[in-house]
C-alpha cells in the first residue's frame, strides 16, 4: 500500500494503480473532473498511463455553481 493525499485528506491505496484505476476506486467516473498531481495538471488522455506514486498529492476538482 502507498500513502497519498487526495483533496487534502491522507489516504492509502494499492501500489501500481493508474490514475484511471484510482478514480474508479473512488467512484469518480464523471467526465466533469480535472486532476492535478503535485500541482501539475494531468490531461484526461494521460489518465490511463499515469501511475500514482507514494507521497503524491492529488487534487480532484469538478464544477459547482459560482459567480
Amino acid at each position: 500500500m502507498i500513502d497519498v493525499t487526495i483533496n487534502g485528506k491522507k489516504q492509502t491505496c494499492a501500489e501500481g494503480l493508474t490514475l484511471v484505476e484510482l478514480l474508479d476506486s473512488l467512484g469518480m467516473t464523471s467526465r466533469a473532473i480535472a486532476v492535478e498531481i503535485n500541482q501539475e495538471i494531468q490531461p484526461r488522455d494521460t489518465h490511463c498511463q499515469v501511475e500514482v506514486k507514494d507521497g503524491d498529492i492529488l487534487e480532484i476538482v469538478t464544477l459547482v455553481g459560482g459567480g
Binding site: 483533496n7 466533469a32 490531461p43 480532484i60 476538482v61 469538478t62 459547482v64 455553481g65 459560482g66 459567480g67
Partner: protein, 289 residues
C-alpha cells in the same frame, strides 16, 4: 453642470439595425447578460432563471470533488454545456499561482465536456475576504501567465483606470471592473472611474469588450451600466438571492435591453434649467416671460 457627463462617453449607433450582437473571445452572443450560477436555493430555480433571462453564457466555479457524495446531483445536469457557453472562474483564489492552477483545471474540465468556452476564464485574484476586491498586483501576474498559456482572460478588476489599462496591455481579452463589491447590491458607485476606463480601453479600439462585473442590486443598476457604454453585465447574487429570482432574472433581461437601447440612442444632455416641450408661441396666457 450644463453638459451631460453621460453624453461624453456615449457613442450612439444611429441607424443601427438588425442584430446587436456581442462578440468576445470568439463567441457571438445575442444576449449581453452573463449570469452566475452560485447561491441559488435550488438547481431548478437556477435553470428557470437562466431560461427567463435568455442568457447564453453562465459562470461556474471549480471546487474539490467531494469524496463521498451521495446526492449525485451535478450542476451540469441543469446547465447544458451544449447550450450555454460556460465561463469558469477562479473565485476564492488569493494569489496568482493558485488562480493559474484553478484556471487550468477549469479548462481541463471544459475540454472534456467539449464546451466551446474551454480556453477562457473569468480571472479572480482577491485581496481580502471582507471586500472581495481584487489584488491588482497578483491579478496582473496571473493575467500575464495565463495569456502566455493561451487563455482568453477576462479579468475581474477594481474600478481603477490604470489597473484596467495595465490588464489590457498584458493581453486581457476583457477587463471587467466591479460596479461595487461582489454581492453588495450597491450598484454602480463610481461612474466617473468607470467612464474613464471605458474611454481609455475603447480609445482606437471601440470593439474591445468591457463588462461590468459584480455589485448589481437591481435592474436599474444594470440599465445604468449599459447606458454608460459597457458591452455586457455579469451578475449573480442580485438574481439568485432576490425574493423571486425568476422574476428578477426577467427584470435583468429588460434592464440590459433598456440600457443598451438608451446607450445606442444618444441621450440628451443634462441641463440646469428646464426646456419646454410644448410650443412657446401662441400661448393664450398674458404672462410675460
Amino acid at each position: 453642470m450644463t453638459d451631460s457627463i453621460l453624453e461624453e462617453s456615449s457613442q450612439p449607433l444611429v441607424g443601427s439595425s438588425g442584430a446587436d450582437e456581442f462578440c468576445i473571445a470568439g463567441h457571438t452572443f445575442q444576449s449581453r447578460l452573463i449570469l452566475g450560477s452560485g447561491k441559488y436555493d435550488s438547481f431548478e430555480v437556477m435553470r428557470e432563471s437562466f431560461e427567463v433571462a435568455e442568457t447564453q453564457c453562465v459562470t461556474i466555479a471549480v471546487r474539490r470533488e467531494r469524496l463521498h457524495d451521495s446526492s449525485g446531483r451535478n450542476i451540469l445536469d441543469f446547465v447544458d454545456p451544449k447550450r450555454f457557453v460556460l465561463l469558469p472562474n477562479t473565485a476564492g483564489c488569493y494569489d496568482a499561482e493558485t488562480a493559474v492552477r484553478c484556471a487550468k483545471m477549469g479548462r481541463e474540465i471544459l475540454r472534456g465536456l467539449e464546451n466551446p468556452g474551454a480556453d477562457w476564464v473569468k480571472l479572480e485574484v482577491l485581496g481580502d475576504s471582507r471586500s472581495l476586491l481584487p489584488d491588482p498586483i497578483e491579478l496582473l501576474k496571473a493575467t500575464e501567465t495565463l495569456v502566455r498559456a493561451g487563455f482568453q482572460v477576462l479579468c475581474y478588476s477594481s474600478d481603477d483606470p490604470i489597473v484596467a489599462r495595465r490588464l489590457k496591455d498584458a493581453g486581457a481579452t476583457s477587463v471587467m471592473p466591479a460596479g461595487s463589491p461582489i454581492g453588495s447590491g450597491l450598484g454602480v458607485i463610481n461612474r466617473n472611474s468607470l467612464q474613464i476606463i471605458l474611454e481609455d480601453l475603447k480609445q482606437g479600439d471601440p470593439n474591445y469588450p468591457v463588462i461590468i462585473d459584480a455589485g448589481v442590486g437591481t435592474a436599474s443598476d444594470v440599465a445604468v451600466a449599459m447606458e454608460l457604454g459597457f458591452d455586457a453585465v455579469l451578475l449573480n447574487t442580485a438574481v439568485a438571492r432576490a425574493a423571486a429570482p425568476i422574476r428578477m432574472a426577467e427584470a435583468m433581461k429588460y434592464g440590459v435591453k433598456a440600457g443598451r437601447l438608451a446607450y445606442q440612442s444618444g441621450r440628451i444632455p443634462m441641463s440646469r434649467y428646464a426646456s419646454a416641450s410644448s410650443p412657446e408661441v401662441g400661448v393664450i396666457s398674458k404672462r410675460q416671460r
